[in-house]
Every structure is written in structure tokens, then in C-alpha cells.
């Protein structure tokens, strides 16, 4: 295991360390980064890049320590080295730095020798890179050869453009025109200010990335041509993208104002400085010559000098030989978010069950969903729940990212079901070379349908939109070739579902209670809103009804309010398998979430909807109202206890015949699980 430590702890040093660690990692070296010396705010800003490597080096078995930034060994680094080498005595130390002169190198060597207790091997980056691409290199530079892109695919252009350039007059217009050139696909790599500008500009369909979204090799992998623009030289991240592309024989066009790369001897093409001429230049001069550019890479001494293998040789590192070449993946990994309940997981399970080879499907899911997924026969690995502490609420995404890295291979299909595409999901898709599919149920509350959120769909090859049962509820959030609408995802034709009469008999035996009437209440687990008052009111009401069994159904892990217990006629049931109970019920009182709503409609279950109206929910009020307008259900407002009690009594006394008739008259769309499965399989097999 190689331990990396940096001489100083500024933002550029953190960046360099993360980049260098990933390079070593991709070359097969086991590498870790000392976690103790970086300021917390710096780590948080780059946490996805650092997370796979950060650890306490003192607690790790090390075979080598490499110090970067050796020209500026700070007190913290010296102290850390002292401690580290006491724990790991005799581990060889290599120190790399950009030394202005021999005095600096000797001074650094003396400090590291004193701190580590042994003479380090010194690597002067000024000698390794005699004509450096940056004025002061914070780490050794070297390009990684990328896997060849699929033959026959449309050429992909990655345009690097700083935010300052995007602010120039007409630049956004020119960029939009470039994106419609048609001869190539376009992705934009920019900084944070550029990203904000492009979101405000609402350039539909344009994939915009920042260095924070994925590692340079991942950004380079998806491109045949890199175009660099802007007034200044590219930063370290973008430089790495350029290096990977050059080493892989792909085209790099230097369109910077000063020819920043070309003037430093980089074998890049000197392209036009403005976007207005870029389309013509690319289609006329670059794209037709891509094979020739690729062919010539083997003849370029510059490229040989800048291959990462040379860095490995300078560090006396031998790239480990893989025991067996890793085959391309073709598994399907479902990653349902868990939102408030388990609806996303339920949908994924239904779709996975319709795959031609369900055994190809695996799951990575949050703890509340694991039981459900396992009960349906799928392998599932756990993710970590979001923390309640708002300052830590994004930390679990780091774990998701790291686990997805470990659990996937290039080529696997990742199916994400959720509203917001987390950074870790996006990064894993980009970096692991996964084929992403987004299952994006609609009926979002208006404030959720932001351009920022929806723009993330460009990460995915397909967006599958399960439709609502009623047309007026199907708002099209986005359009385009990648978006596919499918029928409602609902559990149907399941031979394991018991007949309602059989279910009632089972319940009677289980609870030793007559089941003259069966009411099932499913108002949520207390996370979206506190429904304990509703449950109490219903329990009190149904207590007076002879022979009535009232089941309060909650998900595993949900909070059970004490007021739910102690009733003769009421029982609390923890289960993820609501449908058998609902089908057996005379009446269901429920929220109007996507899955339950459609189960009620498709299984023709008399229901009273009490919509959830929380900030993070879908628009349940609209959904419930659509059923009510058709006479197929009743709807009660969340604060309307009296009306709820009256409605329940009316249904039980007057019968639910009207509701059943209205339900029977409904013409419902063909369910879409099969269609969704087919779309996923098509991506997997192409």
C-alpha cells in the first residue's frame, strides 16, 4: 500500500493529491492518503475525489510513503511524518517536489530525513518535466491511456470553457449554435461560475460538467476531441484531461487566447480562438483526421515523455500485473433512493422482476428497503442512510459513491430510481463507465422541477418515466430521444397474492378476532408528517364497530405512536407487503403515493385518500383529486378529522358499492413494468 502525504495543505495541494492518487489507483497500485493534515473545509469541497483514499496512514500497512509538495514541508507534515515512520519504521520514503535549485532540494531532504528517520529518495519534478505544463507542478504529471471508444459512435467533443469566457457577449448564443452543429455531440467542461451561467441560460440538452463532477480520465473517456478555450492556461484538472487524450491518440485543440499549450511544446492542434469558427474547424479539419491523429501518437516523443508510465519509472513503481483481465460488465444494478417511504424500491423490484434474466439484477439500497428487496428474491447490498444532522446530511453520498465503485464494473447498467440524482451516483456512472438509466416518476411539486435537477438527465443514456393512470397528471418535464414514457408501474398478475377471502381468514386466525369488516390504514411511517392523530381518531371510531378489524400498516423502521396501541379492534402491522391486506379490505385509508394509488386503482380497492403534502413529496393532492373527480375514491384533507370519520362511517355503513362501480368503469393504461424492463435490457445488450 502506498501512503501519500503532502508537504503543505492548501487547496491546490489537495487537488493534486487526489488526482495523483487516482492515477496510481487506475494503474493498479493500492494507494491511500493521509487524512489528518487537511483542513476540514478543503476536504469537504473535494470529498468525492478524496473519499476513496483518505485514511489514517498510521493504522494502515504501508509499503512506501510518497511525499508530494516536498519543496514546502510544513510543520504539520513534518510532525505527521515523524509519527508515521515511528509506526512504520523502515518504510521507504520518496519525496517529490518542484525545486528551484539544489539548495531547496537538499533542505527538503534534510527535513524529511529528520522527520522520517531515514534518507528519502528525492524526485525533482523540474528534472522530470524540464518543460513543465504548469509553472509550479504540485505533483508528477502523466497521461493515462484510455480504452478505445466504440467504433461507429458519433464523434464526441468536450469543450473546456471558463466561466469568464461565457460571460462575453454572444458567447452563449454561439455555444447553443455549436451544440446544434449536428456532426458531433457536445459536452461542456467549465468551472462553477460557468456552470451557474449555463443553467441560467437554460441550454436544453447540453451536458455541462465541472471538474468536481468526475475525475479527468472519466471526462476524457467520453470524448474524441478536447477543445481548450479561454484567456489563461488550463488548470491542473483540465491539463490531466488533455494529457489522457493525447496519450490515447485523441485530438486536443488549443483554442486558448495565447496558445497556452502549443507554446509549451504540446502536440495539440492550434485552433480558432472564438466559438463562432469552431464548428467549421472541427468538421473540416479535425474530425476527418481523427484516425491519422491517433496513428501518429506512437511517433511522438512528447507523448512518450508524458505517459504516466514514465512517472512510475521515476518513482521506481512497477505497475501490478492484473491476475486476469477484468471483463466488461453487463450486470444491472438497481439503486432506488428511499425518499420518504419505500416506493422507489417497490417500483424497481417490479421492473427487475420483468427482466428476461432477473438473475442479472442486483440491488444497492438503503436499509429500510433491504427487507422488501430480499423478500422478492433479489440480492441486495446496503447503502447508508442520510444523517439527521443537517451538517452531515450529504455524507452518506460519499459512502454510496465508494460502494458503487466497488460493486460495479465498466459496462454495467446502473438503474437509479429517485427524484434528485446525487453527486455520488452521477460520479460513479461517469467514472466507472456505467450505462445509466434514470427511472423518474413524474408529478413533481413545481418547486422541485428545477433546471438544475433535470439537467442531470444528460448523465443517463435513458430516462424512463412511469406514467400516471390519468392523462392530465402526466406532465412532461423534459423531452428528447433519451426520454421514454411507460405505463404505470404496478404490481399485477402476481400468483403469490392470496385471494381476499383467504387473507381475511388468515387475519382472523392470526389476531384471534372476527373479521366482519376489515379496514386497512396506511398513512405513512411518521417521517413525512405525523398522522398519529388520524390513526387515533380512526381507531376510536372503529372500536365501536362490532366485528371490525382495523389494521394500521407501517413500514419496518417506522415510528409507532403509543396511541395506536391498546385498542381491541386495532392492530399495528409492520410489513412492506401492503397489497394482500389492501385487496382483502373493505376500505383502505391511505396516503396517495404513486405505488399505493395505482394499486388501489388497478386492484379496484375502495379507498379514502389523505394526501401527504410535505415539501419533499410528490403532488399527492393532485393525484388523489383526479381519482375523486372520477368517483373512484374519496379524498380528505390532512387536517379534516371530522370529515374523515364521517367518510369512513359512510363507506362502511352505506357500503362501498358506488366506489367499486366507479373503479370498475375506469379504463386504465397497460402497466409499464414489462416495457421498462425491455428498455433496460436493450441498453444492457447493445
Amino acid at each position: 500500500m502506498i501512503g501519500l502525504i503532502n508537504g503543505s495543505t492548501g487547496a491546490p495541494e489537495v487537488e493534486a493529491l487526489a488526482l495523483f492518487a487516482r492515477r496510481l489507483d487506475l494503474r493498479g497500485h493500492a494507494v491511500v492518503i493521509e487524512d489528518a493534515i487537511f483542513p476540514a473545509d478543503l476536504v469537504r469541497a473535494r470529498r468525492h475525489a478524496l473519499a476513496p483514499y483518505l485514511t489514517d496512514l498510521a493504522a494502515t500497512a504501508l509499503s512506501r510513503v510518497i511525499v508530494l509538495g516536498a519543496e514546502g514541508i510544513g510543520v504539520e507534515c513534518a510532525a505527521r511524518l515523524r509519527h508515521l515512520l515511528q509506526v512504520h519504521p523502515g518504510v521507504p520514503v520518496t519525496a517529490a517536489g518542484h525545486f528551484d535549485n539544489r539548495a531547496g532540494l537538499l533542505s527538503s531532504q534534510a527535513t524529511i530525513a529528520a522527520a522520517s528517520g531515514q534518507e528519502p529518495v528525492m524526485l525533482d519534478l523540474a528534472r522530470l518535466h524540464p518543460r513543465p505544463l504548469l509553472d509550479r507542478l504540485p505533483c508528477p504529471l502523466g497521461g493515462l491511456p484510455l480504452a478505445d471508444r466504440k467504433a461507429g459512435s458519433k464523434p464526441a467533443v468536450l469543450l473546456s470553457i471558463p466561466g469568464a469566457s461565457l460571460e462575453e457577449e454572444r458567447c452563449l448564443d454561439q455555444l447553443e449554435a455549436l451544440s446544434h452543429a449536428g456532426m458531433f455531440s457536445l459536452r461542456v467542461l467549465t468551472d462553477q461560475s460557468g456552470h451557474s451561467l449555463l443553467l441560467e441560460g437554460r441550454l436544453a440538452g447540453l451536458e455541462v460538467l465541472t471538474p468536481a463532477d468526475a475525475a479527468p480520465d472519466a471526462l476524457a473517456s467520453g470524448a474524441d476531441v478536447l477543445v481548450l478555450t479561454g484567456a489563461s492556461a488550463p488548470d491542473l484538472n483540465t491539463l490531466h484531461v488533455a494529457l489522457d487524450m493525447l496519450v490515447s491518440g485523441r485530438a486536443v485543440v488549443d483554442g486558448t487566447d495565447s496558445g497556452a499549450l502549443v507554446e509549451r511544446g504540446v502536440p495539440a492542434l492550434r485552433g480558432p480562438r472564438g466559438l463562432h469558427a469552431l464548428a467549421g474547424y472541427l468538421t473540416g479539419r479535425v474530425l476527418p483526421n481523427l484516425p491519422e491523429i491517433h496513428h501518429r501518437r506512437g511517433q511522438s516523443p512528447w507523448i512518450a515523455m508524458h505517459d504516466f508510465a514514465r512517472v512510475e519509472a521515476a518513482l521506481d513503481l512497477r505497475a501490478p500485473e492484473a491476475a486476469h483481465p477484468v471483463p466488461a460488465g453487463d450486470d444491472i444494478l438497481f439503486v432506488p433512493t428511499n425518499g420518504i417511504g419505500i416506493g422507489h424500491a417497490q417500483r424497481c423490484v417490479l421492473i427487475a422482476g420483468k427482466l428476461p434474466e432477473p438473475a442479472k439484477a442486483r440491488f444497492a439500497a438503503f436499509p429500510s428497503c433491504v427487507g422488501l428487496i430480499r423478500s422478492r428474491g433479489f440480492a441486495v447490498r446496503p447503502l447508508v442512510q442520510k444523517a439527521d444532522d443537517p451538517d452531515r446530511s450529504g455524507d452518506n453520498d460519499l459512502i454510496t459513491y465508494q460502494r458503487l465503485r466497488r460493486w460495479t464494473r465498466c459496462g454495467d447498467v446502473l438503474v437509479f430510481d429517485g427524484g434528485y440524482v446525487f453527486d455520488g451516483i452521477r460520479r460513479a456512472i461517469l467514472e466507472q463507465g456505467l450505462r445509466g438509466i434514470w427511472i423518474r416518476r413524474g408529478l413533481w411539486q413545481p418547486q422541485h422541477a428545477t433546471f438544475h435537477t433535470l439537467s442531470r438527465e444528460t448523465t443517463f443514456e435513458r430516462v424512463i418515466v412511469p406514467q400516471e393512470a390519468f392523462d392530465e397528471l402526466n406532465d412532461a418535464l423534459t423531452h428528447g430521444a433519451r426520454v421514454h414514457a411507460v405505463g404505470p408501474i404496478v404490481r399485477q398478475d402476481d400468483p403469490t397474492l392470496p385471494a381476499p377471502t383467504e387473507m381475511r381468514a388468515r387475519l382472523s386466525r392470526l389476531f384471534d378476532h372476527p373479521v366482519g369488516e376489515l379496514v386497512v390504514t396506511m398513512l405513512g411511517g411518521g417521517r413525512a408528517a405525523d398522522r398519529s392523530a388520524h390513526v387515533s381518531a380512526l381507531s376510536a371510531l372503529l372500536e365501536r364497530r362490532v366485528g371490525c378489524l382495523h389494521l394500521v400498516l407501517v413500514w419496518p423502521g417506522a415510528t409507532i405512536h403509543p396511541s395506536s396501541t391498546g385498542w381491541r379492534n386495532t392492530r399495528v402491522v409492520r410489513s412492506t407487503n401492503a397489497l394482500p391486506l389492501a385487496r382483502a379490505a373493505d376500505l383502505v385509508v391511505t396516503a396517495a403515493g404513486y405505488n399505493t394509488f395505482h394499486e388501489v386503482l388497478y386492484h379496484r380497492i375502495p379507498a379514502i385518500f389523505v394526501p401527504q403534502v410535505g415539501q419533499m413529496m410528490d403532488d399527492q393532492s393532485r393525484r388523489a383529486a383526479s381519482a375523486c373527480e372520477r368517483g373512484a375514491a374519496r379524498v380528505i384533507g390532512p387536517d379534516d378529522f371530522l370529515t374523515l370519520s364521517r367518510a369512513v362511517t359512510d363507506c362502511l355503513d352505506g357500503g362501498t358499492a358506488e366506489l367499486r362501480e366507479a373503479l370498475a368503469r375506469l379504463h386504465l393504461p397497460e402497466p409499464g413494468a414489462q416495457q421498462a424492463a425491455a428498455l433496460i435490457e436493450e441498453v444492457r445488450t447493445r
Binding site: 513534518a78 515523524r82 515511528q86 535549485n101 533542505s107 531532504q109 529528520a114
Partner: protein
């Protein structure tokens, strides 16, 4: 001292290593006492003998700003040329090369400041191209130790301490520090322990003080034993801090190479032996006092009058009138 032996001119070499900082107070006061100007910006420094102290100030310089014209040029090697293991401590060839390039002299010599320092100079000379252009003085140019000797305490206690600049080269490894300053000692004072603070490795039984946070006098007042070890990759050229501890009336325990210039009054030991050494002296306070007085007597070899004799040996002629 030198001003009593002949006419002296003091030049500021002006290489800018210290970024324009003021002249050190002791030097400024001495020049004022002697009514000697500090010559700044002079293009040429001339004299019978030119003495240039500590060539490391040129390590980042492109040239020596002052040209030297003298019969004899002596460069005093205050900092060791080679670290233990033979690695250059600084770019010696560069520094001496600049001096040689800026000087017109009949004789060009390096004056070591101690036996270990001499060994490093000689080792450097055999492996360096620049070394062939320099001689090494027969005698060492030692540091003058001229301060009142404080008497040893009659009732020593297990109060230990060390004093140094805060760089990692000045500190032994963590386990050796634990040997030197155990929990069983009554007091453990570490002055200049900035590194230990950064390392988050302060023991509860240590009093760790940042460099220059208290006066040296106050520090010595807190201890009876000066326990001093450095990183294995480092060695003191002379060890002025050892001399200061002796003059302050403390028993000094250090490694053999550092102890060598100071005679048998400074106890040479390994860190793991420190406890036993101290225990023995605490059990025999008279022995404690004898050890301090022996070291103080041996320190007389670095007295000012001895320096005058040594100066004549090195320079090779008598100037002025002997005191």
C-alpha cells in the same frame, strides 16, 4: 576579540538570505562598543586576512555581492557540510564556488569549528570538485564561550529539559523522547517544542513551550539536567546550546559525537540510558556537582584568551599587541 589583535573591518555580505532583516542585536551592540561601522554596499573588501562566516547564507544567491581581495581567505564552516550518512547538508559546492569566484587571494581555507565538523569537511573535500580549490586549517575555529559560570545546585532534583530551534532535525524520534522525558521525572520542560504541538504528541508530563516563548535564563532555572539528543540524520556542528547549559551550571547528557568537543564533564549516553545516569547522580549530589565543575573547567578551552592563541595559529602571523 579580533579587534584586540589588529585592525578590523566588518562588511555586510548582503546576499539577502534573511530578507532585509536588521542586524542581530549582539553584533550591533558590539560594533557600537568598538566604534566600528558595519560596511554595507561596499563593492570590494580588502585586507591581509578575510574571514567569512558560515557560507550557507549564499545557498539561494546567484553571486556574492562583495568582491574579496586578501592574502588569506578563511571561510568558517559553522554549519556542518555533511549530515550523518554523508549527505550534503546544503549546496556546499555552490556556496564555496561563489566565494571563490568573487575573491582574489593567495590562500583559500576552510576552518572547521569542531572535530565532528572537521570530519565532515574532510569527507566533503574528497568527493567534491570544488573541494580541490580549498585547504583545511590545521586547527579548529571554535566558538568563543564567554559567560559567567553559574555554580551547580547542591540539591539536584529530577528536573529535566531541552532547548532547541523547533525544526525536526533537532528532535530525536518519539520513542527516544519518551526515554529522555519519562513520567517518573519531577519536571520535563521542552522549549522549542513547536513540532510536538503540531504532532499532537504532547505527553501530560511534559511542559512544552514554543520557541522563544521564555528566556533562556528562565528555562535553565526550571531544570537540573539538560538532556539533548537530535534526529539521527542530524549532528550539531559545535553545540552552542551545550555550552550554554554548562555555563548555566547544569549536568548535560547527550550523544557521544555531540559530547566530544566538551570533554568528560558532558555525559555521553544513549537515550535509553538517561534514566540510569540521572538516578546515579541524584543518589550522589556531590558527583552531580563534580560533573558540572568538570564540564565548566573543560569549557575554558573555548575562553576568549584561548581564542587569541588559536587565532594566531590559524592566521599564521601576529598582529597588534597581545593582551
Amino acid at each position: 576579540m579580533t579587534s584586540r589583535l589588529g585592525r578590523v573591518a566588518v562588511h555586510d555580505a548582503g546576499a539577502g538570505l534573511f530578507g532585509g532583516k536588521d542586524v542581530a542585536t549582539p553584533l550591533a551592540e558590539t560594533l557600537q562598543d568598538l566604534a566600528l561601522p558595519l560596511l554595507c554596499g561596499e563593492a570590494v573588501a580588502t585586507g591581509e586576512v578575510a574571514i567569512l562566516h558560515n557560507p550557507t547564507f549564499l545557498k539561494l544567491a546567484a553571486a556574492l555581492p562583495v568582491r574579496i581581495v586578501a592574502r588569506d581567505l578563511i571561510v568558517v564552516a559553522h554549519e556542518t557540510f555533511l549530515r550523518p550518512g554523508g549527505v550534503e547538508a546544503f549546496d556546499v559546492d555552490h556556496c564555496l564556488g561563489l566565494i571563490r569566484g568573487a575573491s582574489l587571494t593567495l590562500r583559500r581555507r576552510i576552518a572547521p569549528v569542531s572535530p565532528s565538523n572537521r570530519a565532515a569537511v574532510l569527507a566533503w573535500q574528497t568527493s567534491s570538485r570544488e573541494g580541490g580549490h580549498w585547504e583545511v586549517t590545521q586547527s579548529d575555529w571554535f566558538n568563543i564561550c564567554n559567560a559567567p559560570m553559574q555554580p551547580p545546585t547542591a540539591a539536584p532534583r529530577d528536573r529535566r529539559g531541552r532547548l532547541s530551534r523547533p525544526g525536526p532535525e533537532k528532535f530525536p524520534g518519539p520513542s527516544d523522547l519518551d526515554f529522555c522525558f519519562p513520567a517518573t521525572a519531577e519536571v520535563n520542560v521542552i522549549l522549542g517544542g513547536d513540532l510536538l504541538v503540531a504532532e499532537s504528541r504532547r505527553r501530560r508530563h511534559w511542559t512544552v513551550l514554543p520557541f522563544r516563548s521564555i528566556s533562556v535564563e528562565d528555562f535553565f532555572g526550571m531544570i537540573d539536567f539538560f538532556v539533548y539528543f537530535t534526529a539521527p540524520s542530524w549532528r550539531e556542528s559545535f553545540g552552542r546550546v551545550i555550552a550554554e547549559a554548562i555555563m548555566a551550571g547544569k549536568v548535560v547528557i547527550t550523544d557521544p559525537a555531540t559530547a566530544a568537543p566538551f570533554g568528560a564533564g558532558v555525559i555521553a549516553a544513549r537515550p535509553s540510558e538517561v534514566d540510569n545516569v540521572i538516578a546515579g547522580l541524584l543518589a550522589d549530589p556531590a558527583s552531580y556537582a563534580r560533573t558540572v565543575r568538570r564540564a565548566q573547567a573543560d569549557l575554558a578551552r573555548y575562553a576568549p584568551d584561548r581564542f587569541a592563541t588559536r587565532f594566531h595559529e590559524i592566521v599564521g602571523f601576529r598582529t597588534g599587541v597581545a593582551a
